[in-house]
Chain length 211, copies 2
DNA sequence: GTCTATACTGTGATAGAC
DNA sequence: GTCTATCACAGTATAGAC
């Protein structure tokens, strides 16, 4: 007795795939609710209803509400990582130009989905802290950003930290004070240039020959 | 009948004072809970218990939980306004020096009480928006800041907006990533100098004679 | 006006039947 | 896996004691 049941590999695959797709549906519904009702406006009952379930059934797929937030967090940063990889490919060789491109990319991504940005970068959900696994893409993006800057001749990594604070500060002001306007978006190029001037980068695209 | 009851002005005063002091006790308790359990960790039952009441009794003094947050919001900005007035009195005459002093003041005030900063400057409480009355001191502080900068020769007010974003960005990073450390505090002077250099302010305290 | 008791609705979460 | 039932806890509305 206690023999291996008659379940071949195909059944296991199918079951795993089905389970994955249910998780996907739940996450899609959660994103939908977050965009409509705000990040903290997400309720399990609302999410469950959109996938044709009762709230407790969600616990078959996620350990808790925070686990759903956690999966969303990882997804958001993975999405941003993809965007950075695509747009970063065509980034200018000079540090100032790269800073402009990077800040634009970040600002646009941030502003496109307020709830997503709050989840990624602000501490809006009371008890939530991302797991190491979900945090990984965020770390990768940051490390890649520092590497890109170093390649383009950034002397002090602290200066990049400051640039990131500048951009984050403008995004925060935008979301808090002028979410539908362009008051802070307009300041973005100026802010980046102030930073570039402030750390002594050359004004225009530098020529290749040093002599 | 229906004569004016025998209540003189003293009784009215005393009652008003008693009412005010009860409000004070409630607000103090609310601040206490906010510092201990986080801003969103404040519950009416917890606040009520600390002032020796039941939760519904708070409604005799505040219309709602948001009304308590609103009073706290106004109080926090009024406190900061007071700090700015005191420390601003001894502010340097040059714009760079004033920027350094101002950013220090703001950063220290922000970091001293995380819950207070979240209430003042981040959108952490789901449905809460400050009333016009509570918002007033915040507006006054901002206007005064722009005035101080203009007096010291700031050419473009947008540049001050950018400075404020820089400081706010550093505070946000501090609170999110290194609340007990000094990783971002250390960057503050450098960030302000980058800004000052970037908008073309002289390096040292300028001398009065232009020739 | 101030406070309490009670209760209503909605939340995340758990237990157990099917 | 999904359900129903239920729990503990939240904010808050209401009625009534004082």
């Amino acid at each position: 007795m206690l023999d291996t049941p008659n379940v071949d590999r195909f059944d296991v695959d199918r079951r795993a795939r089905r389970r994955e797709s249910t998780r996907r549906e739940i996450l899609d519904a959660a994103w939908e609710v977050a965009r409509e009702s705000g990040l903290t406006g997400v309720t399990l009952r609302d999410v469950a209803e959109r996938v044709g379930m009762r709230a407790p059934s969600l616990y078959s797929h996620f350990e808790s509400k925070h686990a759903i937030y956690d999966a969303m967090f990882g997804e958001a940063w993975a999405d941003y990582e993809r965007v950075v990889r695509v747009e970063g490919a065509g980034a200018p060789d000079d540090l100032r130009g790269a800073a402009h491109a990077m800040s634009r990319t970040f600002f646009d991504f941030a502003v496109a989905d307020h709830a997503r940005y709050q989840l990624m970068n602000e501490r809006v959900v009371p008890g939530f802290e991302p797991s190491a696994e979900s945090y990984a893409p965020a770390v990768r993006v940051l490390e890649a950003t520092y590497a890109v800057a170093a390649e383009r001749g950034l002397a002090d990594p602290d200066d990049l930290t400051i640039l990131l604070a500048i951009i984050g500060g403008l995004v925060a002001q935008h979301l808090a004070n002028d979410p539908d306007g362009d008051r802070y978006e307009r300041l973005l190029p100026r802010a980046v240039d102030i930073w570039a001037d402030g750390i002594g980068l050359p004004r225009t695209t530098p020529e290749k020959d040093p002599a």
